[in-house]
Structure formats: structure tokens, C-alpha cells
Amino acid sequence: MGKYIVKRIMYILVVFLILSFLIFMIYNMLPVDKAAETARAEVQANKRLNYEERYEFWQKRYGTNGSKFERYLRWLGVYPYDDGTFNGLLQGNLGDSTQYGKPVIEMLGEPMKNTIIINIFSTILALGITIPLGIFCAVKRGSKRDVAVQVGTIVGYSLPTFIIAIVFIWLFAIVLGWFPVSGMSTAGSLTWSAWDRLWDRAYHLALPLIVMTFCSLGGMTRYVRASMIEALSMDCIRTARAKGLREKVVVYSHAWRNALIPIVTLVIGWFLGIFGGSLMIENIFALNGIGRVYYTALQMHDNEVVLALQMFYIIIALMGNLIIDLAYGFVDPRVRVNK
């Protein structure tokens, strides 16, 4: 097992290097030249300076001189700048945000926290609803209620997130007025007591969470139902029934264990997938999360933030793949990887 994990991690490193190189090259297609911009601003402020000279100076400072490959290695932190220092990803430097005027790492803390909170809560909510519902549908397969849920789930996963969000905003925030339309907190809530602030935050996050949960209901319910049906048609279930076990034990102990394997894959993959998926929700509800930061960075041409977040998304996806592989082994002893 240990050997396998090491092998997978090595492999993920290779994939990360390939992907990061690819994305760095795409990023380099953008018409930005930080050194030129700074040099131009300097020369404009002080006419006595020589543009060429200053340009060269800033190129060296920012490490944008040399070939693209050199720049990539510098960005990674394995190739020295002209003054011989290393300052890249490995040293924890992801560049500066032009929009906020501070290092990318510093400005990502708060949004990261928000995104993780939203995603964890919506995952818990979605699992709490879909697993019982999926099991119920699988057990009562073909009944009227099952068909109704099936049609409902098709509708659920056919609709894009933003349409569901718009309809929910219209219904719950505008017509009924239960929730705020968007935002993270009420203006001026900074002076409130901690408890009130928490309550205010929950009040603002309620509708986004409902929408996110609702969006994931369709696909997850179908998945749980399908794997449960598969499990229920196994021979061991027939044996269990034949030896007179109660139906509850058959369903929840025998079938559910078998159905769990694909579901675990789905849950982990999906949990990591929603880091990308919550991008939409964060933008619609103006929540200060990773997705919104990414979106505004693209809009404001804040390119180093874009690059850093793109890498973050890729790391998340790669970690997800690794965890899925390992979780398979933990959940299902039969496929425990022994290579």
C-alpha cells in the first residue's frame, strides 16, 4: 500500500509539472509585460530615467528576462533569478495581485475559508438528502414515487446552476422575501456581537447553500439509486433474503455496503469538483470565495492571481484523483491495491 501511494504521488507530481507548464505557456500568451509597465510608469514620473535601462532592471527583478522555459522554472522556484536567489512556487511566492496590491498568497486566505465552508456544508446537506432518497428509490424501484423522483432528478440535473439560482432568487428572495438577494453580510455588521455576526452570516449563506444543494440533488440521487440497484441484484442479496434476514438488514447492511464503493468515488470526486462548481454560485450571490476572486481577476486582468488559482484548481483535482484511488482500497477490501 505504501509503495502504491508513493508511486501515485510521484505520478501526480509528473502530471502537475506537465499541466503547470502547459498553463504557464497559455498564460504567457497574454499580452502582459509587467517589467515594461513598471518601467513606463517610472519614466513617466521621472523623465530623466532611461526607459531601456529601467526596463532591463525590472525584467531582472521580476525574472521575466530569458526564455519562456527559464521563466517557468523561475516561477516554480528551481531556477535562480539574476541575483542568484530562488523565489517561486516552492518558496511560497505566487506573485502579486495588481488589483489588491499585495501578494496573492495573502489575499487568498479569507476567500479560501469561505469557499471551503460553503462546499462542506452543501456536501453534507446534499448527502443527507440524496443517500436516503436514492436508497428509497432503489428499493421501491418502478413504483409511482420512484418514477416521480426519477423525472424530478432529470429536471434537476438538466438545469444549469445559474437558472436554478435565478429562479430561487426570484422565488425566495424577491417574491417571498425570506433571504437576501446577494452578499456575505449586512452592511455595518462588523460592530455587532460575535453571535449576531454568525447569525447574519448564516442568514446570507442560506440561499446559496440551498441552491447548491438543490443543484447536486439530481445527479447524486440517480447515482446512489443506480449503484444501489446494482447492489440489490447481487447474488448475496438473494442468499440473505433466502436465509430469512429482515428486509432492513438486507438493504442497509448487505446491499448498502456494496453500493458504497461507487458512491465514495462520487462523493470525493464531486466534493473536489465543486470547488470549480461553486464559482458560479459565488458569482451570482456575490460571495467572497475563490471562484469570485478568480472571476474578478479574469475581468480585471489580474493575471498572476489567475495563474495561481488555476494551479490551485489543478492541484485540487489531482489530489482528488489520488484520494479516490486510495479510498477505493479502504472501502472495498476486494480491490485493495497490492501492486
Binding site: 502530471v15 506537465i18 435565478i166 489567475v306
Partner: protein, 651 residues
């Protein structure tokens, strides 16, 4: 050289024909079984047996939901692919006066009582007012403001039947003069359209005489409204009031050019006045010197001022941007910023002389002394489809043309009837944009699916059939691609494309390719698994022993056996691609305005004002997108059920 080209063409033609034949054969094999012709005896022998694919088709159509979804989807395809040929769209068209109109179809619904006896018809944007010969007031069209919820259709009590002398409608206000000489006004008055004007606002207040006193109603020569402005000609004297920013020469005209006035015409920016002596003025702001124009008799005129010298003008009219002057000899002169063909004057038959001209927002109508009507200018709603129709009098609505017969009866009304799905924030018809946007959305989705399926088929077949290092390599590539987070990466690529100097069409094409390139991994894995299973079967060994080439076995013998998997996956992927395209476009990183898609039609709907007040702007595109993806998903699910022999035992 020519011959060479020819052979090239025929070679590529052959290639295409071969591809189509192969696809056709697969489809045939899939739905109707093998291609071998059976003799009568064999037919009888196998009559009871049906091929699995035939059974699948039957099972599909036995399911009512799936059949319904298929019908809906086919209808939708016809709607979006044939619709654009019948409903043309001007991509760059905008009209702020038509913005945010709710679904309605009442803009040409002239009340019957008015149609029997018309005295005047006047309108500026979305609603039109009319006065009948027996002094009754009528109002039709879209009379609401969706944002402020003000209904201009609520007629004040002062306006009583049989007591209305003249009426005119602006973009958001209505002015009525009763037979008692009272001026009644309602609607929006935030820009001095009527009532008292606040100190310091750039608005000109309605004259005191009209605000508080009464006038001799029988002496009203003309009453018209422009955009937030009104002009009244009373016994040769001009009164004008309203927003001076909406009519830039309002103060000048009302102060200095207000005597001996015969007629006034209001465009979106200026007023021009026709005096009783047959001269025309637009004040200092609209001088005719050095202004070019088009004359119906003399063609292009480089300088309007000397041209008009010594000539008598008998009628004037204005559209939003253009002005028409009718000279006493029947010569019609049009000038201004023509955007929609306002200066392309119609050919009047010789012997006829123009005697009257009227202007809508972007079109003109004229009448000749032979009582024939001609129209030209913008024709998006058919308002300019007049070429010699009989008319004793003519009126121009904003986007409508009304012809009046000898006995004051309305004989013909053409033009904008309304918008069944409303308009968006730039005044564009939502229905037209849904038709064209659907075409774009479907095309992007289809091309993306085809690209992704082609890649998946090639990778899956090669990887599954050859195994070994090919499999190893291709699967690693697949894993790398599947590790790319879809939405953020697509946004990044689209962002990079936006900074490149490429044409919009090229960008849309690149987006299709990007969507395809990022979504093939799942299907490739599935095909690989299927091919791995099929590879071990006897017919492959048979083909190998007959010496069939490996590529041929992979693509011609094994691939048709996994086509059902591909078909199901393509169907479901199509729905996914529609969703991703619309999500990208919604975020502004897909197809961008003014080119519509169902996704970017919704991008205005991300604030509560639009969601609450302009519900039609997001509801209709959302419904169309939802119906399309839901039907595709239902069809895909059913296909999977009926094509999978394992699940056919269900029930």
C-alpha cells in the same frame, strides 16, 4: 491546374461519400439489422425473430415520455435551424425607446370605434393615442413601465368621452387638449413633460397659460410629443416644453421662432419649425448650411441651404434621426443621420406629386395627389411595406403606418404589432434572439460533442484494441486531460482568446473546439473498456485469421459493436455541452454580445432589478434551454435503458 483542382475536389468528395456511407451502414445495422438480403424462405424462418436493435427502437417508442421528448427536441431543432430564415435579425440593432417592454401584442390594436372615424393618431414609442371624429379619446399599445409599475393607460377623469380635441403621446407621457380648452397630461413628469418644474433642472416648464388657464381648443393647429418634450401650435404660435436635454434647441425655438408657425416636427435631438411663409428653421443648432441631403427630384444635394432658397416648403416630418421637407413642387428633401435607409426615397410614378409626409421613429410615409401612399426607411416590422396603396390621409405611429380612407375610416394598418416575448434592455426582440441564440447554442453544443466524440473514439479504440504501451500512453494523456478543472480552464482559454486579434466567428469556433477538447475523457475511458471486452470475442479472432489489418479490425469490426455506448454518451454529452456553453456565455467567457445565445441572453439577469421587474428577459431563454436539455437527457436515459440488454429485464 484546373484539372488538378477538380480531382482534388472529387477525391475529397469521395472521402466524404465514403464516410457518410459508413455512418449510414452503421445506423442501418444498428436499427434494421444486417445488410444481407434474405430470401423469402429465410424471411419466413426469421419472421418471429427481431434484431436487438429493432427491439430497442420499438422499446424506445413504447415509452411515452421518451417519444414525447424526441418530438419536442425535433420541433426545437426545426424551430432554431429553420426559424432564422423566416425571422431575420439585425445583430447591431438597438433601440432604447423599445427597451424592457413586457410581452404584449397590442401595439396595432386600434379600437374599432376609432377605426370607423379617425381624426388623428399619434405615438412616439410603445403606445399610441388617437382622437376620433366625435371627439373621443383612444389609447392602445404597451402602456406600462415595468420598472416603476406606472400604467399610462389609466386615463384621468378629466378626459371625458366626446370632449377631446387633440391628443399626443411621448415616450412616457400623454398630453390631451379637451374641447373646453383644458390641457390634461399624465404619465411621467420627472423631466418636465408636464406640471411644475423644479428650480435648477434643465427642463422647460409648460407655459402658464396651458398649465392653469384654458385655451381656445378650436384654434389648435398641431399637438405633438417627442422624447420627453411636447410642442403645441396654437393659432400660429408655438409653445414647447419638456426636457431641454432631449430636444437640444427647445429653448431657442420656443423663445425666438414661435410666431407664424405652421407646423413643427420633433426628432430625438432637435425640433424643426415650418413657418407660414414656407420657410423652415431649426435654430442655430440645426443650421442647413453645408448640410447634405437627398432630394426625390435632384438626387444628392451637397448643401441644403442654397437649395432651399426661394422655394416654399409645404410639409415637414421627422424620424428619430432624420428630417423630411416637402417642397411646393412635390420635391421631397430628406436629411440627417440615416441608419435604416431613411434617405432611400421611393420611386414615385411620374404624374404623381407628393402632398403629405409623416415620420415614425425610423421610417417615413408620404402621400401623393393621386391619393397613393408610399413608405421607406426601417422595415423591421413591415411598417414600410407601402407602395401605392390608396389613402386619403396618412398617420405614422412609432413603428406603424396607418392609412385613412375618404370617409375618415382606417383602411390599412401595418407595422409592429408587439413583442410576444418582450424586449431586452437594448430594445431587441427576445423572441428573435431566442431563435437565433438557439441556433448558436445548438451549433456550439453539436460541434463540441462531435469534436469530443471523435477524439474519444480514436483514443478509446486505439487504447483498448492495441493495449500495451499505446494504452499506457493514451490513458496517461486521458488522465492529464481529466485532471483539468473544466470551468476555470475554459474561462482561462477564452480569456486568452479575448486578448487575441481574431474575428468573433473564429473565437466562437475556437470555443467549440475548446469545449470538445476538454470533455472527451469520460467517453474515451468507456469506449476503451467496451473495446477491451469485444476484443476477446470470436469474430475478432476470425477477422485476424483472415488477415484483416489491425486498424481495420479496430475501427470497422469492433467500433460498430460499441456504437450504442457512443450514441448514448453523445446524447448525454450534448446536453452537458449546451449547459457548459450557456454557463460560459452567462459568465461572459463564451459567445459574447451582440451575438445571442441562450446563455448570454441571461447575463443581464444577475441583478435583482432584472429578475424582479423584467421577468421575461430571463424566463423565456431559461425555459427554452431547460426544455432542450431536459428532452435530450430523457432521450439519452431511455436510449441507455433500451440499448442495454441487462436493464431491459427491468420491470
Amino acid at each position: 491546374m484546373a484539372k488538378n483542382q477538380n480531382t482534388n475536389q472529387s477525391a475529397s468528395g469521395n472521402w466524404f461519400v465514403r464516410l457518410m456511407k459508413t455512418l449510414g451502414r452503421w445506423a442501418k445495422r444498428m436499427f434494421f439489422g444486417g445488410s444481407k438480403e434474405l430470401t423469402m424462405d429465410e424471411k419466413l424462418a426469421v419472421e418471429k425473430l427481431e434484431s436487438p436493435s429493432k427491439l430497442a427502437v420499438k422499446a424506445f417508442f413504447r415509452r411515452k415520455l421518451a417519444t414525447g421528448a424526441l418530438v419536442v427536441l425535433v420541433c426545437m431543432f426545426l424551430f432554431v435551424f429553420i426559424g432564422p430564415y423566416f425571422i431575420p435579425m439585425d445583430l447591431n440593432y438597438t433601440d432604447p425607446l423599445q427597451a424592457n417592454i413586457a410581452p404584449n401584442y397590442s401595439m396595432l390594436k386600434v379600437p374599432d370605434e376609432l377605426a370607423a372615424n379617425v381624426r388623428s393618431i399619434h405615438g412616439f414609442s410603445n403606445f399610441t393615442v388617437g382622437v376620433s371624429g366625435d371627439n373621443n379619446f383612444y389609447l392602445w399599445g404597451y402602456t406600462e413601465n415595468a420598472l416603476t409599475k406606472v400604467d399610462y393607460g389609466k386615463i384621468p377623469d378629466e378626459v371625458q368621452p366626446g370632449k377631446v380635441e387633440a391628443a399626443a403621446a411621448g415616450s412616457d407621457h400623454i398630453i390631451v387638449i379637451t374641447t373646453d380648452g383644458k390641457v390634461v397630461a399624465w404619465g411621467n413628469n420627472s423631466c418636465g413633460q408636464y406640471g411644475v418644474v423644479k428650480e435648477g433642472d434643465p427642463h422647460r416648464q409648460i407655459p402658464d397659460l396651458l398649465l392653469n388657464g384654458t385655451i381656445d381648443a378650436s384654434k389648435v393647429d398641431q399637438l405633438i410629443c417627442g422624447y420627453q418634450t411636447t410642442a403645441l401650435v396654437l393659432d400660429g404660435e408655438l409653445y414647447m416644453w419638456g426636457n431641454t436635454k432631449a430636444c437640444l434647441n427647445l429653448n431657442e425655438m420656443a423663445d425666438n421662432y414661435n410666431k407664424n408657425v405652421q407646423k413643427v416636427a420633433l426628432s430625438n435631438y432637435y425640433a424643426i419649425v415650418l413657418f407660414e411663409d414656407g420657410t423652415v428653421s431649426g435654430g442655430s443648432a440645426l443650421s442647413f448650411a453645408m448640410m447634405s441631403a437627398v432630394s426625390s427630384k435632384n438626387g444628392n444635394i451637397s448643401n441644403l441651404k442654397p437649395y432651399l432658397e426661394g422655394k416654399t416648403v409645404v410639409d415637414i416630418a421627422a424620424t428619430n434621426n432624420c428630417y423630411a421637407l416637402l417642397l411646393s413642387d412635390g420635391d421631397l428633401v430628406v436629411f440627417g443621420a440615416a441608419e435604416y435607409g431613411e434617405t432611400e426615397l421611393p420611386a414615385i410614378p411620374s404624374g404623381e406629386k407628393i402632398v403629405q409626409v409623416e415620420g415614425g421613429t425610423r421610417h417615413f410615409i408620404c402621400r401623393t395627389d393621386a391619393n397613393k401612399a408610399y413608405a421607406w426607411g426601417h422595415n423591421d416590422a413591415g411598417q414600410s411595406n407601402l407602395n401605392g396603396e390608396e389613402a386619403a390621409n396618412i398617420f405614422a405611429g412609432p413603428k406603424q403606418s396607418y392609412l385613412i380612407g375618404e370617409d375618415n375610416q382606417l383602411t390599412k394598418k401595418i407595422g409592429m404589432k408587439g413583442y410576444i416575448f418582450g424586449t431586452d434592455n437594448r430594445g431587441r426582440d427576445t423572441f428573435t434572439r431566442i431563435v437565433h441564440g438557439g441556433k448558436m447554442t445548438m451549433t456550439v453544443g453539436a460541434v463540441a460533442v462531435i469534436v469530443s466524440s471523435l477524439i474519444a473514439i480514436i483514443v478509446g479504440c486505439l487504447s483498448g484494441y492495441f493495449g500495451g504501451w499505446v494504452d499506457m500512453l493514451l490513458m496517461r494523456v486521458t488522465e492529464i486531460f481529466s485532471a483539468i478543472p473544466f470551468l476555470p480552464f475554459a474561462m482561462l482559454l477564452s480569456y486568452v482568446l479575448q486578448t487575441k486579434p481574431i474575428s468573433e466567428n473564429m473565437r466562437i469556433f475556437m470555443i467549440m473546439i475548446i469545449l470538445g477538447l476538454l470533455s472527451w475523457t469520460g467517453l474515451a475511458r468507456m469506449i476503451r473498456g467496451q473495446v477491451l471486452a469485444e476484443r476477446e470475442k470470436e469474430f475478432v479472432i476470425a477477422a485476424q485469421s483472415m488477415g484483416v489489418k489491425e486498424n481495420r479490425i479496430a475501427f470497422k469490426h469492433i467500433l460498430p459493436n460499441v456504437i450504442s455506448v457512443i450514441l448514448v454518451s453523445m446524447t448525454l454529452d450534448f446536453a452537458t455541452c449546451l449547459l457548459t456553453e450557456s454557463s460560459l456565455s452567462y459568465l461572459g467567457f463564451g459567445v459574447t454580445q451582440p451575438q445571442p445565445t441562450w446563455g448570454n441572453m441571461l447575463d443581464g439577469a444577475n441583478n435583482s432589478i432584472v429578475i424582479q421587474n423584467y421577468w421575461w428577459q430571463w424566463l423565456f431563454p431559461a425555459i427554452f434551454l431547460a426544455i432542450a436539455t431536459i428532452s435530450i437527457n430523457i432521450i439519452g436515459d431511455t436510449l441507455r435503458d433500451v440499448l442495454d440488454p441487462k436493464s431491459s429485464q427491468e420491470k
